[in-house]
Amino acid sequence: MDDRKTRILVGKVGLDGHDRGVKVVARSLRDAGFEVIYTGLHRTPEEVVEAALQEDVDFIGLSILSGAHMSLVPPIIELLAANDAEDIIVCVGGVIPPEDGEALKELGVAAVFDQDSTTDDIIAWIRETAAKETKTAKKS
């Protein structure tokens, strides 16, 4: 059984400065027992991936309310793949229209949380997903 706490990088990418949601999520995740690293604002895709690799995280949670998600998320997925880190699970929250949500999922985003999602929804999903990952023993 994997005793290690699930590590989550919570990040704001691009110029979007709305951080109310991401900070509430970060704190909720921490209170729920996860190890949370918050990137702060205005990170580039490169900076997000660098931090994720450095911090050896299991999940990346991205918050984007600027509408620029289709320019910012795909590079992150690509960089993770280029760094052999496809096992890091990426989820996205913010203002993401359903069609874009579908497109992001096709690219490899595991979940898209809309504005009415609750912190409980997010925590439950992470727990579920982390448990599945442990079962399939993706990490050596």
């Binding site: 691009g14 110029l15 979007d16 400065g17 709305h18 951080d19 109310r20 991401v22 900070k23 509430v24 970060a26 704190r27 909720s28 918050y38 702060g40 604002l41 205005h42 580039t44 600027s66 509408g67 620029a68 289709m70 320019s71 910012l72 203002v95 229209p97 809309d114 504005q115 009415d116 609750t118 912190t119 409980d120």
Partner: protein
């Protein structure tokens, strides 16, 4: 002082003998009729409270206002302490400005939307800019990729602003620009456009938001560190107060503080604390307070708790008036009266069942009107999904027009004045605002408090608490955590704004063309001069105007001053 010992005091709500009788009757009522009725109809909660946690009693009576001095606390509109409004006639002579924000795509797209809104009866203009422009990047900057023209219009050079305002008489209509770290640049561009069009500065009315202090703690748009940021705002206010008699060079804002998660009390207190900081900064230059204070304007939200919001607006006016008079020794009324733009609460609107947002917005707008706002933006029903469509803005604008023309709400001044509830809430709000201002003063003022992360922690705490209340069902969101209809997830009842493809390329091409036909030597010279001014303590605006007139781009100007001021690095707290 016991009730029985008091003699009649002028301005008292009810005579002492009456008060004693009311007290007696109230107790009787509570012990008989009320008790009986509660047995078959218990109240929904043990304790009700406003959104920010002030207790809400079952009823309010003259007993609650027994210490209220009408002349001292309420008085008349346009008279100290301006609780009832900044002007003697308010909407009876001049309704609030209906000022729906617009900004997306290319300058021409935004220009079309502005003209549409004016044609539908809008009485003031409000422009929103894209993230790169807000943050100081040109459209061709690597940091701008994917963000050009998305959440607002791109303004790289003065010709962009000119095109946004094409065919609009800026000598006649007031123009507000929602811009902060780069406000001083857009302001300079605006003056350059006015000069090009032969419009004297004295005719220009409008505003730039420009309040950088609230950025560091709430909206999070920044370039330079806090103190250079404040210096820039200082220069903007000083220049404008001197040269533009009808212009408001700042909107000291609570909206974003609230939207970041603060309570109503925090919104009010933190905004006024920031206001104090700006006034102090300018006074350091030896400029008399009455020479600039009349041009300070404010910006607050109209949130969901109806009566609390009205009380908040009244308390704000009362507190600011006293600050200006007693703390800063202002002599002119115009320095003491708080005027504000208002926007209904975007974060209160839901993604699910978005048509409900029309109702939410209408009620919030009413609170702004009953609270005496000078200018109002009502949100679109699609607020939680995308920037608003024409249709969403039309309905929102009609909402204001209906409130003005059909409800009678604007036909008397401060209609809720005298309400036992609203006067009590106003007093309570006022007290709590003063508490915070004292605490912030103890920390050395708003700038120091921001550097200490004081506001940021308070706001994050409130935001977290609010989220927990939603989660626990304490705070109802109709259609979301109560009355949830699964069929509402099957699609939206309207089209959303579509971002036109190619905007980024168009904007980059515009910028290329400007750079090609301008005199690069002159630009370099102007930027060098501006950099020198930045190094000194001289006013930045004249050199900035010269730079924008030479077609220096926003990004180039910002970069030049980074060499002097450096950049801000946040210490995030959650």
């Amino acid at each position: 002082m016991a009730l029985a010992d008091r003699t009649e005091i002028p301005g008292q709500v009810a005579k002492d003998s009456d008060l004693a009788e009311i007290a007696k009757a109230k107790t009787e009522w509570e012990e008989t009729e009320l008790k009986r009725f509660q047995q078959r109809s218990p109240e929904r909660k043990k304790q009700f409270s406003t959104l920010s946690g002030l207790p809400l009693e079952r009823i309010y009576t003259p007993l609650d206002l027994q210490d209220l001095d009408f002349a001292e606390k309420i008085n008349f509109p346009g008279s100290y302490p301006f609780t009832r409004g900044p002007y003697p006639t308010m909407y009876r002579s001049r309704p609030w400005t209906m000022r729906q924000i617009a900004g997306f795509g290319t300058p021409s797209h935004t220009n079309q939307r502005l003209k549409y809104l004016i044609a539908q009866g809008q009485t003031g203009i409000s422009i929103d800019f894209d993230m790169p422009t807000l943050m100081g990047y040109d459209s061709d900057d690597p940091r701008a990729q994917g963000e050009v023209g998305r959440e607002g219009v791109a303004a790289d050079t003065v010709s962009d602003l000119d095109e946004v305002l094409e065919g609009i008489d800026i000598g006649e209509i007031s123009v507000s620009m929602t811009i902060n770290p780069t406000a001083w640049i857009l302001f300079s561009m605006y003056l350059a456009v006015a000069e090009q069009r032969g419009i004297p500065l004295g005719r220009l009315s409008g505003t730039v938001q420009a309040d950088i202090l609230k950025e560091y703690i709430a909206q999070k748009e920044w370039i330079y560190p806090i103190r250079p940021g404040v210096r820039i705002v200082r220069d903007l206010i000083v220049y404008s107060a001197k040269h533009l008699l009808r212009y408001n060079p700042i909107n000291i804002s609570g909206y974003h503080i609230r939207e970041a998660g603060a309570t109503a009390v925090q919104e009010a207190a933190f905004t006024l604390a920031n206001g104090i900081a700006y006034v102090e900064e300018i006074l350091k230059l030896g400029i008399p307070v009455d020479e600039f204070a009349p041009r300070l304007a404010f910006y607050f939200v109209a949130e969901r708790d109806f009566f609390e919001e009205v009380a908040k607006f009244r308390a704000l006016r009362r507190v600011w008036a006293r600050i200006m008079k007693e703390r800063f020794g202002a002599q002119q009324s115009e320095s003491m009266r708080l005027r504000f733009h208002c926007q209904t609460a975007a974060s209160s609107l839901t993604a699910r069942e978005p048509l409900n947002n029309i109702a939410r917005t209408a009620v919030q707008a009413l609170s702004a009107i009953l609270g005496g706002a000078q200018s109002l933006h009502t949100n679109g029903m699609d607020e939680a999904h995308a920037i608003p469509t024409e249709q969403a803005m039309k309905v929102a604008l009609r909402t204001q027009q209906i409130l003005l023309e059909e409800t009678g709400a604007a036909n008397t001044i401060d209609p809720l004045g005298g309400s036992y509830l609203v006067e009590t809430l106003t007093d309570q709000m006022e007290e709590k605002i003063w508490d915070y201002i004292r605490r912030i003063d103890e920390r050395g003022g708003a700038v120091a408090a921001a550097e200490q992360n004081f506001f940021q922690i308070e706001i994050a705490e409130s935001a977290y608490h609010y989220q927990q209340q939603k989660r626990d069902g304490e705070l109802t969101l109709v259609g979301v955590n109560k009355y949830y209809d699964p069929s509402s997830d099957e699609g939206l009842p309207f089209e959303l704004h579509k971002v036109e493809p190619g905007v980024e390329e168009i904007q980059k091409e515009r910028l290329r063309r400007v750079r090609k036909q301008r005199d690069d030597d002159e630009v370099e010279k102007r930027l060098a001069e501006l950099t020198e001014v930045a190094r000194s303590d001289e006013n930045l605006i004249p050199a900035t105007i010269a730079a924008v007139k030479a077609q220096a781009s926003l990004g180039e100007i910002v970069k030049a001053l980074k060499t002097v001021f450096g950049t801000y690095v946040e210490t995030p707290v959650f």
